[in-house]
Assembly symmetry: C2
Homo-oligomer: 451 residues x 2
């Protein structure tokens, strides 16, 4: 018997988390804080000992939802102050080489932060060492699961032994290709969809300049929007930039020689070539391969009171709203609130999470799909810039009433589905404004012509 | 070397079909006819030796697409003449006990046929005995698949031995819960969705009358539409009716005692109780359980030139358009045409099937979802009946131009996606007609009032 965080005398729960990535290791902290026994199983080696694995994004953008979750385990200020690079807007590189800035929040200067995946993941794992009730098992691959019974079998990837384990609750935080979710698919009435977009991505790198400093203004997310494809760059602590090219697979496949790489970049991203360096560009491009982007939706997230999916395992999204990690961290916040609300009654917690969370993660999933079009294409259009400036003006004028979509998603904790409803309501007002402006103009012309 | 159907001298292909259901056994015939070696593996026992398994529909409706495929293996006339019961329209049982008929095709009296699953499946399997190049393996469960290499491992369910087999081409015709598709999900860029509707179904039975004859007019599909749920009945050769109740799971769960069953049927399907018999109704209802209905979409259907999904494995649909079997049989027809067109070049055949077939099966999948609302609710509404009679009139007037949706789906071989486009075009004309009628009426009233 233990005195839990909420003051109640209760038997601690025995909880297994599958997946020691960002969401899994944060969830371990929150559950440990509540006094439960947590065992964390991770397929890969301890990330604190591994160099970067190509294929997982190097850096991520941290915004308000993610910050709130980090705050609840006391790590927000550390991440932001010491290990996050603020990005206050989009820095657009036009086709003709000219640039302009679109601030995220001209009114109060809120920003998102570029953070390193490895650093943040390591920090969360290290933090768990402060708790006596967290055990971590790396190099453990889930090979069998009976979720109804709460029993799992892992294969130790180093010596090929298998281990059978049981728990009161199994949390699947094992990412977009989740093994726990695969087991859940055997449940009756499990809705599931996975959709690959026709675009792939490839990461490249801009090194520091000769002075050891950033080669571009560091407080922005840089975008080279080119209609059907785009290049983006996020700053890293070591003064490098992680550059990501998003483009249809068919186009990647065609660019298969040194000359073609240079011709392609020369035509579309001429200003990026000297930053990356010709030799490195060709090497990295031809040495890598374009990787797929998948969007996953499913329902329900639980198997009775025995198993639950969170993070990418429950709702992998395309990366264009910068909300993958943030929405996963928000899952942890919501779960923590439900543990409090239902006094650790797993059946109630899991049922409420599953019944309510889907509409918000479905909403951010759809928004992320849409935002790809905005980032790679719309940001260059006058109609977009006009709407953006009117949105910003109204936000300045009536900040409590008129929060633009990007701001509500990135700088508030408003449920994602409400952000979308908000935008729909704003669109209607907008249409009315346009009709009035149209009538007023028409009336003016009429008046002038008959006068 | 063999002289194939198309006259070419070619090495026959070695083809494995997984699944000996309706679609698998038909496909075996078509491939055998073309001279290829076919091995058919089925998880269950030979259906010719098994009594009915509760959970698979007893009877199905056969319409033009299915008939065309049966014709190509010489079995259409036999099925229709001797073993199909024509259904010329919907026979609606209203809440108040009164009835009315909605013909499917008042113009030329085309009909769909109620056929028995077991009989048709047995017939197709028996037919394959006429070919020396079809081998059948029952009680073989697929437990492992390397689709890239075209190799499969089966478990013999009777003696637990495993068998490894290889083929030039693997065709997955193993139904909505396909094991071949499960293996295909490991391929990169495989889009997949499974969606369960909130309604389940339960099969009941109306026996023959004391005179040994049908207790209801036999040439109709009977429907008891009740808004959010419905009962339907299809006739069988033995003068019984297979009655299916479609209803939300939540409602099924509430009806859990003799009294509740009788009260529910007494309230909503009073005229069906004496037909089924009180005792049998209660026994069957409480002895059975509601089964789920799943809709599956995926893309692509092939793995290079090695594996292909057809039928429910590729596109399980909800049963409300009566097109599950028909669309699966149409897959076989299309494949046969592609074998002819591409002269047995598997790579080309599979690529074209995969690139073109999805838009039609996605269309019928959506139509089937929609038709549930039509069957259980819209058919009772005046607006539906008005539209239906205008549709029928225009079809009678200009049969080449105006084919109503149900008719194009059930009585033509027009691609499903074109049936949908057709309907959209008709809807536009309809709106224009309504506006004109509205203006004319308004003008008439105006004229009369100022006269």
């Amino acid at each position: 018997m233990t005195t839990l965080q909420n003051g109640h005398q209760k038997k601690p729960l025995d909880i297994i988390i599958v997946g020691g990535g960002l969401v899994g290791s944060l969830e371990a902290l929150l559950l440990a804080k509540r006094g439960h026994r947590v065992r964390l199983y991770e397929y890969r080696e301890d990330i604190r000992r591994t160099p970067h694995v190509r294929g997982r994004s190097i850096n991520l953008s941290l915004s308000v939802r993610g910050r709130k979750a980090l705050q609840s385990v006391g790590l927000e200020q550390h991440m932001i102050r010491d290990h996050g690079i603020p990005m206050v807007g989009r820095y657009i590189h036009k086709f003709d080489g000219s640039t302009y800035v679109i601030p995220y929040d001209a009114r109060t200067n809120q920003c998102i932060y570029s953070v390193g995946r490895n650093y943040l993941n390591s920090l969360l794992l290290k933090e768990s060492e402060k708790y006596g009730n967290v055990e971590k098992y790396f190099n453990h691959k889930l090979i069998n699961a009976d979720l109804q019974k709460g029993s799992l079998t892992f294969l130790k990837t180093q010596n090929k032994e298998t281990v059978d384990v049981n728990a009161d609750l199994i949390i699947g935080a094992d990412g977009a290709y989740s093994a726990v979710r695969k087991a859940m698919m055997k449940q009756p009435l499990f809705d599931y969809s996975q959709k690959y977009i026709e675009h792939g991505y490839m990461e490249l790198c801009i090194p520091p300049g000769e002075d050891g400093e950033f080669q571009m203004p560091s407080t922005y997310l840089h975008i080279w929007p080119r209609g059907n494809f785009m290049l983006i760059a996020l700053p890293n602590q070591d003064r490098t930039w992680t550059v990501t090219l998003f483009m249809p697979f068919a186009m990647f496949n065609e660019i298969n020689t040194d000359e073609k790489v240079l011709a392609f970049f020369g035509k579309y991203f001429a200003d990026a070539i000297p930053l990356i360096g010709k030799k490195k560009l060709v090497e990295d491009f031809l040495g890598g391969s374009a990787l797929p982007l998948v969007s996953v939706k499913c329902r329900p997230y639980n198997v009775k009171d025995k198993a639950l999916l969170i993070g990418d395992a429950a709702h992998a999204v395309v990366p264009f709203y910068g909300q993958g990690m943030n929405s996963g961290f928000e899952d942890c916040t919501i779960l923590d609130e439900l543990f409090q609300k239902h006094n650790d009654d797993i059946a109630k917690i899991l049922a409420e999470f599953s019944d309510t969370r889907w509409k918000d993660v479905f909403a951010i999933s759809d928004l992320a799909m849409y935002n790809y079009i905005e980032m790679r294409d719309l940001v260059t259009r006058p109609s977009y810039l006009l709407r953006k400036s009117i949105d910003d003006f109204l936000f300045w004028l009536i900040p409590d009433l008129w929060v633009p979509l990007y701001n509500s998603v990135s700088f508030t904790n408003m449920p994602y589905s409400e952000c979308v409803r908000n935008r729909q309501w704003q669109n209607k007002i907008f249409q009315i404004i346009i009709i009035f402006v149209g009538l007023w103009t028409f009336g003016g012309i009429l008046y002038l012509s008959v006068r």
